[in-house]
Symmetry: C2
Subunit: 337 residues, 2 copies
């Protein structure tokens, strides 16, 4: 090692000094660190991984168009997660796959290549090839979203408490006096959108309020679904969408059909975004705390990876990430008879 020579010590001492191991004279350590810094030296990842195993985790984003609004925020999530990870020596890399199956394939392969120490999975589907693939691997995994089926004990789930938030949406609309509510869900297979629909349905159950969930996967189909929903004879007086883009579409279609929002139709966007504040009327929305969610992912990841090192401790489950209260803006009001 250049650093070792320049500092006049052996490579072992350099290694100790840099990894903060004790057993090195304080002066020596400082000298080594200084020299390393001057030389701009950093340990080679490959050499380090060869002994210690990989120090990076991967998130394979699936871009098949079904991911809905949250797809766009994957990088925001990763940014937030990286804030946490930067303190340690774990990094989170993102890769893109065009289908769930391909994502599963890549993770299986990269695990075999010992390229990554663990994986983050987001946008869970009901039958998810990624879970099937990872289940048989001894890989540490962080799930964003609670899966329907039980998962290995070593895994961790970071869950967004949007069931609570969506129940609150249901109550809010009920309190306003709405009697016919519809939800425009994202892709059918998406677990998150299902859970949201279920939450609002249960909140409304027993109150005699009519509730329908229609699927509108992708902007075009969403637009078609909105169209038929609002043109129907017994159209709802309130529509809840899964994402912000679809909510924008609802506003547009309503305007075209001469349905006044919020008086004749209330609209709630299931995922808030800056754009929701700028429409006319502005959209009442469920907050989407990407930053908090990302931070939680960072912590969970650190947790599973550490637990994987020291097989003893189990990765404690994380608390659901609080979504916060509904952001009430201009698109909701009591229905006018």
């Amino acid at each position: 090692m250049d650093v070792a020579r320049a500092a006049g010590v052996s490579t072992a001492v350099v290694s100790y000094a840099l990894n903060g191991r004790r057993g090195v004279a304080e002066v020596t350590r400082e000298r080594v660190l200084r020299v390393a810094d001057e030389l701009g030296w950093r340990p080679a990842t490959a050499a380090r991984s060869l002994r210690a195993g990989p120090g990076a985790a991967a998130l394979v984003a699936v871009h098949d168009g079904a991911a809905g609004a949250r797809a766009g925020s994957t990088l925001d999530l990763v940014t937030a997660a990286s804030e946490i990870l930067d303190d340690g020596d774990v990094t989170l890399a993102v890769h893109a796959a065009s289908s769930v199956e391909h994502a599963a394939h890549l993770m299986r392969r990269w695990w075999a290549e010992r390229r990554y120490a663990g994986f983050v999975v987001t946008g869970l589907r009901t039958e998810d090839a990624r879970l099937a693939a990872l289940r048989h691997l001894p890989a540490p995994v962080v799930l964003i979203d609670e899966p329907l089926v039980p998962t290995p004990a070593a895994w961790r789930s970071v869950v967004l408490d949007d069931a609570t938030a969506f129940a609150q949406v249901g109550e809010f609309l009920a309190d306003l006096g709405h009697r016919r509510v519809a939800m425009l869900t994202g892709a059918e297979g998406l677990l998150a959108t299902r859970r949201r629909a279920t939450a609002i349905r249960s909140a409304l159950a027993g109150s005699g309020i009519e509730f329908d969930a229609v699927s509108g996967d992708g902007v075009d189909r969403a637009a078609a679904a909105v169209g038929s929903l609002l043109s129907s004879g017994s159209r709802p007086t309130a529509v809840v969408t899964d994402d912000d883009v679809t909510a924008g579409i609802v506003l547009d279609v309503a305007r075209r059909l001469d349905i006044a929002v919020p008086w004749q139709l209330s609209v709630v966007a299931g995922t808030d975004s800056p754009a929701c504040r700028l429409t006319t009327p502005s959209l009442t929305a469920v907050p989407y705390p990407v930053h908090a969610l990302g931070n939680a992912v960072g912590h969970a990841l650190l947790g599973v990876l550490r637990a994987d090192d020291a097989k003893g401790e189990k990765a404690p489950q994380t608390k659901p990430v609080d979504v916060g209260g509904l952001l009430i803006r201009g698109s909701t009001a009591p229905p006018t008879p």
Copy 2:
């Protein structure tokens, strides 16, 4: 190696067989490949990198809110690039940084750690800390966008031919009879948005058409800029935006101010997206060929990495990615006096 033992050969033969080197009996090769496959064995990335250097490149996405509409499509771009790369053994990893400086820091660090074989840089700024950092490194780099300053000969730029497309927008609006045209640019520092503004300005120059470019970085400031632009006494009869979200804002503000689109105001979205088709009126837009762009990035990356291996050949520059003709929809028309 397990595979070597199971196949009854030495590790050397396994290595040769797997890397397609000649000098292995065909039967042996097949047997080795079969055994490796059965055992699900793949070479450890770390060990391989230790000898051959890293086989992955990284794109550090900057998420400081200034990136504009294209930020959301980073993963689409990477998906398209990966299609190309999957054939070789190069992979492209994405990381997220919260500022250009942080991105520069990460790349410098990862290069020192020999973690990545090269970098892809997107969303160039006028004074870009990333270029400053990478310039002094012998790292292969693919730039998305042509930089203003000269760059190392080994680098490659993948450029989108949107100057042509934006010049075409200028001509289109001139032909329609517009005399006052404004452009809502993205973040000031962004090179791409500048080039677009310049292209449209030159196209309009000499025709006596008034042209103004106002900056609206981030949705809120964009909304404010649109507001003052459309409220002004001598408001333009045509507005071109850098991205699709801003175009949506323009439509909304116009509606609120009772300005009829397209009759009293034409709107052109500088970056097409599915949402552009769904507004009322639908938005005339400049196509944004993410897929082609991503493929080009994949090829360019393969090029620079290969050139880096065999120092002899220079990485040939790639042709600009063709944007295609303006998508004329409902938001543009001749101005009514």
